[in-house]
């Protein structure tokens, strides 16, 4: 079965970012496909590589990047939500006159159309948030 995942919450708000990761991992382990993971609203905060949580805390961003590397996941950050919260790739940083990009490995920035497409293409759209 094809799952699409929507995440509306950052890694340090409540638990939804963790639940979404655990669900996605379990879906892959049980033979399902992940069509796309879409980070929306505060969920875009999962996609910054400048976060440095304490070493004895889980690093949700790194967990996503690793999982995406292993299973070739499509991790998409909503561009409008990202701009508001200062999540940028090279192009966006240049366009807005910012010093450097901070988007984490394997994440990419795109538009809301990617969420709509995921909702259409996947068998189930799972929404995680606060």
């Amino acid at each position: 079965m094809k799952f699409a995942i929507q995440i509306n919450e950052g890694p340090f708000t409540h638990q939804a970012a963790d639940t979404a990761y655990q669900f996605t991992k379990a879906a892959i382990e049980n033979g399902h496909d992940i069509f796309r993971v879409f980070f929306y609203h505060d969920g875009v905060n999962n996609g910054t590589m400048y976060g440095v949580p304490p070493v004895d805390d889980r690093n949700v961003q790194a967990l996503w990047s690793d999982l995406a590397e292993k299973h070739d996941l499509d991790l998409v950050v909503c561009v409008a939500a990202a701009q508001r919260r200062g999540i940028m790739d090279e192009d966006e940083a240049k366009r807005h006159g910012k010093g450097a990009a901070n988007i984490a490995p394997k994440f990419r920035i795109s538009g809301l159309g990617q969420l709509i497409e995921a909702g259409i293409q996947a068998d189930r759209l799972m929404v995680f948030g606060d």
Binding site: F3, Q15, A26, N30
Partner: protein, 103 residues
Amino acid sequence: MSTLHTVNKSPFERNSLDTCLLLIKNDSTVLLIEDGVSGALQNTTASQSISDAMQEGVKFAVLGEDLNARGLSADRVIDGISVVDYAGFVQLAADHDNVQSWL
């Protein structure tokens, strides 16, 4: 058409479980996750509405990992609520036609 409803807020903090139970169809399942797992416990103000919904044919499940994370043991859970792991969560999502997250 069956729907899996996920509730992630404690019924003692928000009314999302109540709202879910008002609208749910009896071929559907409620999965309690995150802080929502406290709704699965016996002898609380939420227990009666869960029992009533069960009588109507609604099924209930609770995420075991989130019970454990809160120090709540599975033997305190209302009879008839099944304790599942993340793989069980995935299976429930696959087994129902739709998934509705009550955020």
